[in-house]
Symmetry: C2
Subunit: 465 residues, 2 copies
């Protein structure tokens, strides 16, 4: 695989930096922008700035546009002389410019903005007005649009002329000549295969084009592009005019970032924005500590709940032995349910109003799973007892029955909590993906102990308790 | 959003099926293949077969090619008369044909294969020889290739002629005229912007094309396409000839499927292949039960380990009160570490050989996190004691110190297990993503109890124990 080669190039870049600049330029000429960006990302900010400044201009722009540079580029650009930095930013595509300027605040931002051309500043003002997780926030304003009166041939000539500066030329947006409204989309494929004299309106799919609004969620844009196999989707305003486009590349980058965030969240870590190996020790502890401390505070309730049942534990120590097994069974079932629901929500298979439908599906499944584990729990005690591995005393049947019943209750409850939590979080305005496995487990731990000892109190009253 | 409309179309499709077939045809003419597929996926197999058979031929083929149909298409095609079914399959793209035939076995497969054209059968034989999670398994053999002696103009004419039947025409593969080896790739964009008299070798990027082999992992193909913003990547054999291409659409579909699998796995569920709401009750219980039962069997060890410390628990019931808090803190830290490592492995940020580097990063972070929680645990006991909410007796300092020390140990150990488990699983030939949060929690539960009571045995000997 070609990727393997790139890892070795970091020291090489650094070495070349101290040598002949022409040699550096020659080496990187053979490298792809993504590989240079990857190598640069491993350098310190000051070394990275030196390398970027030494690169051929076009390559430097491409490197800064790569997702690998996203983390450091504001820092890198602030170390490059203002004029050069301004020219580099000016040459970047509008969506990347907006992304960059979101990371820069205060004086630095004003300083950089002043270096940009008036056209760039105006485009940026529009893009920066949208939230970064929306279509408006990830779109680019560099697309090809032609009037609906043009022919295929004239459109192709136009593309040949202006195509170089556009993010994509594979989708061409056909606008109503007077109102500027989007009326049609043709693909470069259709154009290439058409008679040059045919009007662009005659080509391609006759259905109204698929569009999104600037406020459409980034994930919904990704779903649309993926579902209909699009190369780009236009973002239109209320009057139907094209504000920009989101391309499949942007969507893939967004998907990868989103996926990382979701996995981290489900593991109860605040999403790391940089590769695992590049995150500083302090940052790593912060990102993990917040959730661990919150979960610990929640988990303290288990000690309080257990304290309430101290007499029962003193009287029947054997009950304490099964606490970890019982509460973790609840936590496991809960984590399962949560992961299923979070994913189904992310894929829009289920919506906010489906909670009762999910509840109706979960209940029988949970009861069945609880019964299976309950029977296993009963068998565990009886087998150990009759095999002589452990003496559960004269009331072993009652103990086994208590454990079994508690398991059914805890597993059913865990599944209920795990499946409903994402809905509750969404209702409260949080990301459903924040319902992490440890969060669910902690919730179920507390209630699981209460369920367990309540079942015990009822079943063992008068015998063991 | 346009997707919202599609949900309403299922009853409509069913209704139209019983009415005038022309009416059905007219309705679906306005629908996109992905929407029809989504609606069809909600029908029973026999109703779906009727709808597909009633669709215009080209649309029926497209519907069968949609990812939404993947689950049911084998079933649907088996209910359509052999000749029609054969023609539909024949018209599908080779990658989808291969995917379909993988789901069909035995007699049915032989029956269907016999209906296909000899050309299709030959192409299928090649594709089916590759594993489904490799580049060979998801590639299509329909791409545009031209000899290296052609000009841009001649290539464009060729595309206009043959383009209709190709999966993509945006990347054109330039082959050495004598050996058939891939020497260059040009984009339709480059061709459109070029002088028609220029040779294709003069256009576009002069670097050797990015390629993969048929055995390249599907996820690595996705990473390559996403990293270098490609629209397709060629799959080449040892002699450098192009066997097929993988397009960005295929990669997005694969990413969505992979992502779902990973989320489900991390939640300790076997990946559901169908939407949450469509999975049958039996299947749902199976998919979840397997892991729950295995985890329960593992969790049983907690009862045995606790049994070994029964005397300690009897003597100091207060120790039992903190068991859930301590072991869940270990489980939480472990789940965090696992989610970070799994994701970093999936992104190839870290490889199999990086386990010691990860260990070196995890240890200080884990010790810090453990110390934070340890101090909180000590405070919890002392505050409760001095506030008079709970009487920890004369040895409250010692108890607090025991809990604190155990927390440091369990959290550090949890982080160690959580970060190393994905490496171990990979070494053993399993998917690292199988290191689910509940799996880690169960592992840490068992050892956490042992750590806790060992610390207690050492610190409390002679006083409380």
């Amino acid at each position: 695989m070609n990727q393997a080669q790139s890892s070795g190039s970091t020291p090489e870049l650094l070495y070349l930096l101290h040598g002949d600049p022409h040699e550096l330029a020659e080496t990187v000429a053979h490298m792809r922008a993504a590989d240079v960006a990857e190598a640069v990302a491993r350098l310190s900010a000051s070394a990275a700035a030196k390398v970027v400044a030494a690169l051929p201009f076009d390559l430097a722009v491409q490197v800064l546009e790569e997702p690998e540079s996203r983390q450091d580029r504001a820092d890198i650009l602030s170390r490059i002389p203002g004029e050069t930095a301004g020219a580099l930013i000016d040459a970047m595509s509008p969506d990347e410019q907006a992304d960059l300027l979101r990371d820069i605040t205060g004086e630095e931002r004003t300083r950089l903005l002043r270096r940009l051309s008036p056209g760039t500043r105006k485009a940026l003002k529009l893009l920066l007005s949208y939230a970064p997780e929306t279509a408006g926030g990830i779109m680019t304003t560099e697309f090809v649009a032609v009037p609906d009166t043009w022919t295929a041939g004239r459109t192709l000539e136009h593309i040949a002329k202006v195509g170089r500066g556009k993010e994509t030329v594979y989708a061409i947006y056909v606008l109503d000549e007077t109102s500027g409204r989007l009326v049609h989309v043709v693909s470069l494929r259709d154009l290439t295969m058409a008679d040059p004299r045919v009007g662009v309106l005659e080509l391609g799919d006759r259905r109204a084009p698929l569009t999104v609004t600037p406020a459409t969620d980034r994930e919904d844009v990704a779903r649309l592009i993926s579902k209909y196999d699009l190369l780009a989707v236009p973002v239109i305003d209320e009057a139907g005019r094209v504000l920009g486009i989101v391309t499949v590349d942007d969507v893939i980058d967004a998907m990868v970032r989103e996926q990382t965030e979701d996995v981290h969240k489900f593991g109860a870590v605040q999403a790391l924005e940089a590769p695992y190996m590049d995150v500083s020790y302090i940052r790593m502890v912060q990102k993990r500590g917040v959730w661990l401390v919150l979960l610990f505070l929640g988990g303290m309730l288990t000690a309080s709940v257990m304290g309430a049942f101290e007499t029962e534990i003193e009287n029947t120590v054997v009950l304490a032995l099964f606490i970890p097994l019982i509460i973790s069974s609840g936590g496991n079932t809960g984590s399962q349910a949560t992961s299923l629901i979070i994913r189904a929500m992310a894929l829009r298979e289920i919506g906010a109003g489906d909670w009762w439908r999910v509840g109706l599906r979960e209940m029988p499944a949970a009861l069945t799973l609880g019964s299976i584990l309950g029977v296993m729990g009963v068998l565990r005690i009886l087998v150990w007892h009759y095999a002589g591995w452990y003496d559960y005393g004269p009331h072993h049947m009652l103990i086994a029955f208590t454990i079994g019943t508690a398991l059914v209750g805890v597993v059913t409850f865990g599944s209920f909590v795990g499946s409903m939590l994402p809905f509750l979080l969404r209702r409260l305005g949080f990301d459903p993906a924040s319902a992490s496995a440890p969060f669910v487990a902690t919730l179920v731990d507390v209630t699981g102990i209460a369920i367990y000892f309540s079942v015990a109190a009822i079943l063992l009253r008068g015998t063991l308790l």
